[in-house]
């Protein structure tokens, strides 16, 4: 394990209220010192002048597709995509095949990550057996196997009593319940957001209410149980408002949104590009503005990608047949820089917090900070470097991104996981962790 010194970069570490030019000394995989000026002979120096030095980014919501759909993504390719995007940790959702509803699958994911992954992988276990929404998974066993939260993501927990019991039971292990909020009876056969665009295109709509009804229910259950609730992929103005009110009442909950909800609206769907089909669907400008407001005032704690790889075969179909989801790991940070930081929505510190310390807190991870003694997970970014998103450059096995061709700013250059460089100057230097 090499030791090195990162010199002259602008260190932004929201967990420690730190923003300034500092040197960082890494020894034995740990952060040894963060100081104005460190001189040490015999260690490798990584020059970071003009660069941002950040705690390794954390994506608390990805789909790695392994086991089951290795044609779309594997833990190996998914973690490479994560590294490309500046992420040193990802939390992967349990809707694999078989699903992560038992300790066996969780252990498989962890060992596969150990063998093939190049960033840290934190599995999320399922709330219900088989994600069927009928009986609770063996949450205790999942916890012991190493899950960092539970969720039936992809499917809502329609049964309110099951949701109540999941919240209560999981609280015993201090596990956060991550809720995919969707009232199926309302979303029904919907394909895109219900509104003017669905009216014009004649595609069945998913009303904002399908999400909001469930957000409201889960907030009420969180209040009732006192358990820790996290609302995944918030997409509507009404959800933001409900979460804001709940937080002001002191209810124990957190929320995330994804880059596509603050960059794209349903107007884009007029092109019938299947890469724009996602669940929850792209909403209206009004919703987009509310999401941005929620990010700004802290109602939305975290930015997660909901990275959902789908094969070309599945996306090259009629719009209504194409499965929902888009990849996001490799574009998220640049979109945050271009759309939120550049436009003055969030300060750099706020933006970094939503991608590091905040998700770490929600999942109870000891990560996302540059304290002395912490694991050396570090991301170095060239904030001024602009580029065009290029499908050819994606490390992900799938290319279903609606951002291909978009001009963005903020290029991830170097990624260090546990003191080991994974990516240097945009190139992979370590294939495995």
């Amino acid at each position: 394990m090499t030791n090195f010194l990162i010199k002259g970069g602008r260190v932004v570490d929201p967990a420690n209220n730190l923003d300034g030019v500092k040197d960082i000394l890494v020894e034995k995989g740990k952060i040894c010192a963060v100081s104005d000026r460190i001189e040490k002979d015999g260690v490798r120096v990584i020059s970071a002048e003009g660069k941002l030095v950040l705690p390794g980014l954390i994506d608390m919501h990805v789909h790695l597709r392994e086991p089951g759909r290795e044609d779309e993504e594997t833990i190996e390719t998914g973690t490479r995509a994560a590294a490309r995007g500046g992420f040193t940790s990802v939390a992967c959702m349990p809707n694999t095949d078989p699903p992560a509803d038992n300790a066996g699958v969780v252990k498989f994911i962890l060992s596969q990550a150990e063998l093939t992954g190049c960033v840290r992988v934190y599995p999320v276990g399922s709330i219900s057996k088989g994600l069927r929404g009928e009986e609770l998974s063996d949450i205790g066993e999942l916890f012991e196997a190493g899950v960092v939260g539970i969720s039936d993501d992809g499917e809502p927990v329609s049964d309110s009593n099951l949701m109540r019991r999941a919240l209560e039971y999981a609280s015993m292990f201090h596990l956060t319940v991550i809720s995919h909020c969707e009232e199926k009876a309302l979303s029904s056969e919907g394909i895109i957001n219900e509104g003017y665009v669905s009216t014009v295109l004649g595609l069945a709509g998913i009303p904002a209410a399908a999400e909001e009804v469930m957000v409201a229910r889960d907030i009420i259950l969180a209040e009732m149980t006192g358990a820790s609730l996290h609302i995944a992929h918030v997409s509507t103005s009404g959800s933001v408002e409900l979460i804001r009110r709940a937080k002001s009442k002191g209810i124990n909950l957190s929320a995330e949104t994804a880059p596509h909800y603050f960059t794209l609206t349903d107007e884009e769907v007029r092109s019938f590009d299947t890469n724009l089909r996602v669940n929850p669907p792209l909403r209206t400008v009004r919703d987009l503005e509310a999401i941005i407001e929620g990010l700004k005032d802290g109602t939305i704690d975290a930015i997660a990608t909901d990275h959902a790889p789908h094969s070309v075969v599945e996306k090259e179909q009629e719009f209504a047949l194409a499965p929902p989801g888009m990849i996001g790991l490799e574009t998220a940070f640049s979109l945050v820089m271009s759309e939120l930081v550049d436009k003055g929505v969030l300060s750099l510190e706020q933006a970094v917090a939503k991608m590091t310390v905040n998700p770490a807190k929600i999942l109870g991870l000891d990560a996302g900070r540059l304290n002395e003694g912490a694991d050396a997970d570090i991301t170095i970014v060239d904030p001024d470097k602009g580029y065009t998103v290029d499908a050819e450059r994606f490390a992900s096995k799938s290319k279903n991104s609606p951002f291909i061709g978009r001009e963005v700013r903020g290029m991830v250059e170097t990624v260090i996981v546990a003191g080991q460089p994974v990516l240097e100057n945009g190139k992979f230097v370590l294939e495995k962790k």
């Binding site: 009216t199 014009v200 004649g202 595609l203 709509g205 019938f272 179909q317 009629e318 719009f319 209504a320």
Partner: protein, 326 residues
Amino acid sequence: MNWKRKDLLGLEELKKEEIEFVLDTADSFREISTRAIRKVPALRGRTIVLFFLEASTRTRVSFELAAKRLSADLVNISSSTSSMLKGETLKDTIRNITAMEVDLVIVRHGMAGAPHWLAREIEPGVVNAGDGCHEHPTQALLDMLTIREKKKKLEGLRVAIVGDISHSRVARSNIWGLTKVGASVVVAGPPTFIPPCIEKMGVTVKYRVEEALEGADVVMALRIQRERQGKNLIPSLREYRKIFGISRERLRLSKPDALVMHPGPINRGIELDPDVADGPQSVILDQVTSGVAVRMAVMYLLCGVGKEAISRQLSAVSKKQKAESL
């Protein structure tokens, strides 16, 4: 005017002048169907594929007759004969078809946007013959041609469209077309049949059919799709008829010479009373006649701009010239 489009996917993207140009061209084609020999050689040697992935009789027959009257060669593929039943994707099926060098593909599909996707993927022109609940441009054009023939104009007319607007591609295409040429459109139905924000398309919404019919020059009833029963959009057909069915008494609210239209097939006694459907104001059969003329016009115009057809022709010409110079 020069027609420059490879495809006809919807009326949303068409300009007023383009719509009028198709209608004018269709007017010229009407006469052909009245001749002793109902056929002209205009599209001789052209191949047109009818690719129907959703049940249809009248639209398919109308396109078929139009193609035959223009002397085009016609290939008919429907969902039951297509190898899509064997699991072939739409993309592969259509690529295979076009590899056979066709000039125009007429596609009907149960899902919105399918023709748009095909149009992007393939070189020959694509005509949308109905995609899900999205658009049905030739139907709206034939409706407009019928209205224009009877009323001698479209601008300033008041057109009431009554029924399940939400699930109607006919309504959407008519709304785009009619509002572009300056007609005013009123849509009526129970709120469960009216999609959100439809006013933004430039129409007025009425929940009482009487208000919609008042002073109308044209009354267009839409088919109530029985297959949507049980989804709680309306309590029953009986109640729908009672509240929204077009009866002779209700029709009196519109202008005395108002036209009664229906895209067919009609549920007699539900959306339209039989004596209205067969009454003197009904132009339902004229719509069918106009349909052939409109589809002839569309095929004629689109076969003229098929890029592939032109480049093939040009290369044939240059080959011929080379042969002659030898």
